[in-house]
């Protein structure tokens, strides 16, 4: 029985390459596992793009091939990418929620003649690993640094940073520290806490003892943010006037229903809020909500995926459906368009997205739900993390 299944698979593999005018895009993301909601958002963004722009570029049909990668696992990531390229014959690789997974794929690109469009992974260095990488999401530096300027503008002098002890957390800490001290602020203490931290009360005690005016925090979106935000309120920090500053990962829209009242008033900087007020976004949100099913689950990875598809369509247009990775990437260098998040462009040198970063406050809508309300804009932000790398 096993053999017949294998044989069937082999036949499938062969037939897949039979249609010459179908261009395949391989998308790798966490479609199951603890981060399944982010993978769902990838798919929602892609589905929304296709719903609004059709599944055809010129004469070529576009087909998306999904592969599941539940957690950061570079070995599996590479195996999946290789399979997509070799077996499925994809012309474009896209998706990638975690940095190591994207890193694992970069060495393949040149030989495979395939561009990689990163739809989330947010470590600055990824784009430097191969000239065939384009990123349509954000970097942790990009979303964290403006918060330091917000803090200074609001008269905050002393800040304690509290981040999860892993790559993005450290990036976020560095981004904030660098900018905040450059702007004349003082970092009174920096705390890195293990990812597995469940009870944040002792951390809040540290914050209290530090005498800071504000706490800058970074945690990966998901279950722990709930405990963190609640601990912030329950330990009386909010009442004591210690401001809460963070990049938008902490208040991603899909976590807001759970955070509820506790998140009310939190300040975050981020590249996208589902509530962004523009025609483009209204159209996008409507399509993406339809795609994801439960409207409350829509959040930022969807817009990275949506714009990623935009870039891929442009690439296909430019190459006329021929497989030429370098030409495809060159075609989108400097490309500018109006994204649901606002005006964006692909930086010609770094191939990373230049975009507005918004200051948002968690607010209560008339229907009782919570949302990220944009209150200020930092226009055309590049990636300061890349500069810091040099």
């Amino acid at each position: 029985m096993k053999k017949s299944v294998l044989a069937a698979l082999a036949v499938l593999a062969l037939s897949g390459t039979a249609f010459a005018d179908t261009i395949k895009v391989g998308v790798v993301g966490p479609f199951s596992g603890p981060f399944a909601i982010q993978g769902k958002n990838f798919k929602a963004g892609i589905d929304a793009w296709i719903a609004l722009n059709g599944a055809k570029v010129g004469d070529d049909d576009i087909e998306i091939v999904y592969r599941d990668l539940p957690a950061a696992d570079p070995a599996q990531s590479k195996a999946l990418a290789q399979e997509l390229v070799v077996k499925e014959g994809v012309q474009y690789l896209a998706g990638f929620y975690f940095t190591p997974d994207a890193m694992a794929v970069t060495p393949l690109l040149e030989q495979a003649n395939v561009p990689l469009v990163v739809m989330n992974a947010a470590t600055s260095a990824i784009v430097t690993k191969s000239p065939l990488v384009v990123r349509t999401s954000f970097t942790t530096w990009q979303t964290s640094a403006p918060m330091a300027r917000v803090a200074r503008e609001r008269g905050v002098k002393k800040v304690i940073t509290v981040v999860s002890d892993y790559g993005p957390g450290v990036d976020s800490e560095n981004a904030f520290k660098t900018t905040f001290t450059a702007e004349g602020g003082e970092i009174v203490d920096s705390v890195r806490m293990p990812l597995s931290t469940n009870d944040f009360s002792p951390i809040m005690q540290r914050v209290k003892d530090s005498g800071a005016d504000a706490v800058f925090a970074f945690l990966p979106s998901g279950p722990t943010t709930l405990g963190f935000v609640k601990a912030y309120n329950e330990n009386g920090l909010a009442k004591a006037g210690v401001q809460f500053l963070a990049p938008g990962d902490l208040t991603q829209e899909s976590d807001l229903p759970a955070l509820g009242e506790a998140a009310s008033g939190l300040l975050t900087t981020f590249h996208y809020a589902v509530s962004h007020d523009s025609a483009e976004n209204k159209t996008f949100v409507e399509a993406a909500r339809k795609a994801i099913g439960n409207p409350a689950e829509l959040s930022f990875p969807s817009v990275g995926a949506y714009d990623g598809m935009h870039v891929i369509y442009k690439m296909i247009e430019a190459t006329g459906g021929e497989q030429d990775a370098q030409k495809a990437v060159d075609a989108v260098k400097g490309l500018a368009w109006e994204s649901p998040r606002g005006p964006v462009s692909i930086d010609a040198e770094s191939r990373h997205i230049t975009q507005n970063i918004y200051l948002r406050e968690v607010a209560k809508a008339e229907d009782g739900t919570f949302y990220n309300k944009e209150i200020a804009t930092f226009e055309k932000q590049g990636d300061p993390g890349l500069a810091a790398l040099k």
């Binding site: 479609f31 399944a36 957690a71 570079p74 694992a104 892993y166």
Partner: protein, 336 residues
């Protein structure tokens, strides 16, 4: 393959020798045949097959301590990850990019990790041992996360660019070289482990699993023997890790994780403990099944994998290989 294993020698002494030798050669032939079939049947899935072989080395290495020595561990990825990081760091920071040298470094790294974790884990028994192993793998994981200057932390250690094997076979996009390299490593490891498990030392380990008190009464040191096995096991896991680093060119923290440890143990139990064939069969069937189901339904495959595990406990309690053996055995007996 199952039938081969059960035809036990009836006569003692030299007359029986060709018998087990033949069986091992046959087993080896079967492994090579399966590897070749894999190559020709799935020429486009070699990356997955290579990954399976890397994990197979980890599962074999767990089998050495769990199946042959009776040491319960949920932390064996510490050894695998140590090998992966050792060879990765050697390549990125010290310019050791020859794949064979990287494998040696990985084996060494794994063996050192084997000494360290063995020294801790062997202090307990049963549940305490499980908990110690969990603590060890978490400490390794955390240490690698902290030492991000060397390991790249949670972003992973990237930039590993191994040279062509023997200067001739470059690691290509299709993963042919990596697959051939992996098959060679697994076959060598299998042969060596087969010899080790049949050796006097291997017998001593089996004795320890069955009755450590008797082994002590024979004047042998239980702790010393187990620690030695941990070193061997570490070297094997380290080779697996190195293979992973070479074929993936990135090492992530997941290679040191509790999850990988637990998954590998599940594969071993699935295949059947105490037999090298069981370890291989368990790895191949679990990972193949996982890949098949997760490609078929990326959203809900975990439920199906869970149901498979439950079904195995209910219907094949000794693991796939062990139960197949028992069935064949029963069939032969009733046939007589």
């Amino acid at each position: 393959m199952a039938a081969i294993e059960t035809t036990s020698s009836a006569k003692p002494g030299a007359a029986a020798r060709p018998n087990w030798l033949m069986r091992d050669l046959l087993g080896l032939a079967v492994i090579l045949a399966v590897a070749a079939i894999g190559y020709f049947l799935f020429p486009n899935n070699l990356a997955l097959l290579t990954r399976i072989l890397g994990v197979a080395l980890l599962v074999l290495s767990i089998d050495l301590v769990t199946g042959f020595c009776g040491v319960a561990t949920l932390g064996h990825a510490a050894l695998f990850g140590a090998g992966a990081y050792a060879s990765g760091i050697a390549a990125v920071h010290f310019g050791i990019t020859d794949p064979l040298l990287m494998v040696v470094v990985g084996a060494f790294g794994g063996a050192v990790a084997g000494v360290v974790s063995g020294a801790v884990i062997l202090r307990g028994h049963g549940l305490a041992q499980l908990v110690l192993s969990i603590a060890v793998v978490h400490l390794f994981h955390e240490a690698a996360n902290k030492a991000s200057a060397y390991t790249g932390g949670s972003d992973g250690l990237s930039g590993i660019a191994p040279d062509p094997v023997f200067g001739l076979f470059a690691f290509d996009l299709w993963g042919r070289t990596a697959y051939g390299f992996a098959v060679a490593l697994v076959v060598i490891a299998f042969v060596v482990l087969r010899l080790i498990t049949r050796s006097p030392f291997g017998m001593l380990c089996r004795g320890i699993k069955e009755d450590p008190i008797r082994i002590r009464a024979m004047g042998a040191s239980v702790q010393g023997t187990l620690l030695k096995m941990y070193v061997i096991s570490g070297a094997v896991a380290g080779v697996g890790g190195a293979l992973n680093a070479i074929s993936t060119q990135v090492v992530g923290l997941d290679s040191l994780s509790f999850t990988l440890s637990a998954e590998a143990l599940v594969m071993l139990v699935l295949g059947g403990t105490g037999s090298l064939y069981g370890a291989l069969i368990g790895t191949v069937s679990f990972m193949w099944f996982e890949d098949f189901v997760s490609a078929a339904n990326p959203f809900h495959w975990l439920t199906i994998v869970g149901a498979l595990l439950i079904a195995v406990v209910l219907f094949a309690p000794r693991g796939l290989y062990g139960t197949a053996l028992a069935l064949v055995d029963r069939f032969r007996r009733t046939g007589k």
